[in-house]
């Protein structure tokens, strides 16, 4: 990036150049060096450890699997690559079902996060003074404590002997006829458990962007609508809700995208017979040692998520421009 022409158009003072300065290395060192270094170092790091791996995983998805070390091989004749992994991806129902299970679980979890997170974010945004900070800290605190341990906490809650399960069982039995009473609620190792724990783990990711959005809303608009005779529900529907759409979209993307590729939760509380795609990738990679197939599933997952990821990146970009 050295030798990029000095930019006179930018508003930032760093980009101003003295007219007719010295030339050569000293000049670069004095004026441009720090700027070039600041851009180049993280850029090169990300190319090496974020872009290069993607190129390799795409290449790997076009390789053949062999029983050897390492367990893959490229064809030795033209065109060197094979699409057999992608063919298998679409012909073997195991993979398609993995994607469908993932999308379904992630969609349900996102919807539940929104249903629970929106009123919570609104409640926190409307809270007064010190309370608002305390409530916000209470949302952030679980996010700082270990993710794995939060999943673990639910394993303890859902087990058939736990106080929670027994309590729930007695509650349900109140409504059931004596003949069909149940011994325990089968919660563990099911997609229900996966969705519950995903909602639990990702709820802060829904609340925080929503709160940031709702907090900035101009409350006088609500008052104006109220003065003009709207009922509270109408004010919410016509004023608050439309204005909070950027927060809703950001929160939903932040929950939906990682939840679709979730590995830890389905591995610990999920149904092994109907696994989410993250678990399928992991099993293919670690148990079957079929690296090309695992790469193919991962590449296809990335293609599935590329639209929401781009959407999220655009929103980030817009948000940072908005601050300027």
């Amino acid at each position: 990036m050295a030798g990029v022409a000095p930019q006179r158009s930018g508003p930032a003072p760093q980009e101003l150049e003295l007219p007719g300065g010295k030339s050569g290395f000293r000049n670069w060192l004095d004026r441009q060096a720090w700027r070039d270094i600041i851009i180049a170092v993280p850029y090169i790091w990300l190319i090496l450890f974020f872009v290069a791996p993607f190129i390799i995983i795409i290449a790997m998805s076009l390789a053949k699997s062999v029983i050897a070390q390492p367990p893959f091989k490229f064809d030795e004749t033209w065109p060197y690559v094979t699409f057999e992994n992608f063919e298998r991806l679409f012909s073997d129902y195991v993979y398609l079902r993995g994607y469908l299970t993932s999308l379904r679980n992630a969609l349900i979890a996102t919807a539940l996060c929104l249903l629970l997170g929106y009123p919570m974010a609104l409640g926190i945004a409307r809270a007064k003074g010190v309370w608002r900070n305390i409530l916000l800290l209470l949302v952030i605190l679980p996010f700082w404590t270990s993710f794995l341990l939060r999943v673990y906490a639910w394993i303890g809650m859902m087990g058939s002997n736990s106080w929670f399960n027994r309590g729930l069982t007695s509650l349900i039995n109140v409504f059931l006829p004596a003949a069909s009473e149940i011994n325990s609620v089968p919660m563990m190792n099911s997609n229900f458990a996966v969705i519950l724990v995903v909602v639990y783990s990702y709820l802060p990711f829904m609340i925080l962007p929503l709160f940031a959005n709702l907090e900035k809303l101009d409350y006088t608009l609500n008052e104006a609508a109220m003065d003009l005779g709207s009922r509270p529900m109408q004010v919410f529907r016509d004023v608050t809700l439309p204005l909070s759409i950027p927060g809703i979209v950001a929160g939903c993307l932040l929950v939906f995208i990682p939840a679709t590729g979730e590995l830890v939760i389905p591995s610990l509380v999920g149904n092994a017979g109907d696994p989410m795609i993250g678990r399928v990738i992991n099993d293919e990679f670690s148990l079957n040692r079929h690296w090309p197939m695992a790469s193919t599933i991962a590449v296809a997952l990335l293609m599935l998520l590329v639209v929401p990821i781009m959407l999220y990146n655009r929103m980030q970009e817009k948000a940072s421009e908005g601050v300027k």
Partner: protein, 279 residues
């Protein structure tokens, strides 16, 4: 109005109960005497003592802390640079790609990042001979890579909300750009760098999926150890370990939050006084 407030209040109560009941339940059961994790057998702190005698856990915790300190430090350096580039240089070649690369790891499913990094390390080992085997180095590189995005976002938003006139004034008074950087910009964003470091540290300490793919034999971090144990079921010693971690993190977050709050208050007061003195 009254009715809706009641509604919001009850949802908040439900939400926070949902957040905290599992954690509280886990903490209570860590004092359970019984070996059966879900049946109450009386109060005891045995599991805590057993924890400190478990060499395997101590070793894994030490390794995790080492990786977290090193990767958080690298991530803070790289992330600060990336955040500055995004906040201060409105145009340079490849800026759009760069900004995408910085924010993508934040939401990229970890499985994809993990598998692709593992493949990269396998290729590097084969064709460059470095890193010779997977373990400490590869995990540290992996953690640095995804944590730098979090630092960059924090630094970027701090710089965007910061008053640029200080930097301009230093430039007008004849400072070279790098002098402005070290004398003006860095001291101002230091609190943001500290929170970035803390976030990178906790994320590294907590990571399971990417570590699982990039680690090798002999380099078992604490989350990987817990992950292996939890797969086999709930045990009281994990309850005790979890309680300790929750306790340490809560104290850490509370203390960091309080110190930053105080520093901010002090800075605001100093600015106010300076303004008042100049009137």
């Amino acid at each position: 109005m009254r009715q809706r407030s009641t509604f919001l209040f009850s949802v908040l109560c439900f939400g926070f109960a949902f957040f905290y009941i599992p954690i509280i339940s886990m903490i209570i059961y860590s004092f359970n005497k019984s070996r059966l994790a879900t049946v109450w057998g009386g109060f005891s702190v045995d599991w805590y003592f057993k924890l400190f005698q478990n060499a395997q856990i101590i070793k894994a915790a030490t390794l995790s802390l080492e990786i977290a300190v090193i990767s958080a430090t690298f991530a803070t350096i790289l992330g600060t640079m990336a955040g500055m580039a995004l906040a201060r240089f409105s145009r340079f070649r490849g800026r759009t790609l760069f900004s995408g690369l910085v924010s993508a790891p934040l939401i990229m499913p970890e499985v994809i990042t993990g598998v692709s990094l593992l493949l990269l390390f396998v290729f590097m080992e084969r064709y460059f001979g470095w890193p010779a085997k997977r373990g400490f180095t590869t995990v540290t590189i992996a953690h640095t890579t995804f944590a730098l995005s979090y630092v960059a976002v924090i630094i970027q938003s701090r710089l965007l909300s910061m008053d640029q006139s200080l930097e301009e004034a230093a430039m007008d008074l004849g400072s070279k750009p790098w002098q402005v950087l070290f004398d003006v910009t860095l001291p101002i964003i230091a609190p943001a760098m500290i929170s970035g470091w803390l976030l990178a540290f906790t994320i590294s300490l907590d990571d399971v999926v990417i570590t699982n793919f990039t680690t090798g034999p002999g380099a078992t971090t604490l989350p990987i150890l817990i992950w292996g144990k939890v797969k086999l079921g709930v045990t009281p010693d994990i309850n005790a370990l979890a309680t300790l971690i929750v306790l340490v993190v809560s104290i850490g977050v509370g203390l960091a939050g309080y110190l930053m709050y105080r520093a901010e208050k002090k800075r605001d007061r100093d600015i106010q006084m300076a303004l008042a003195a100049n009137k």
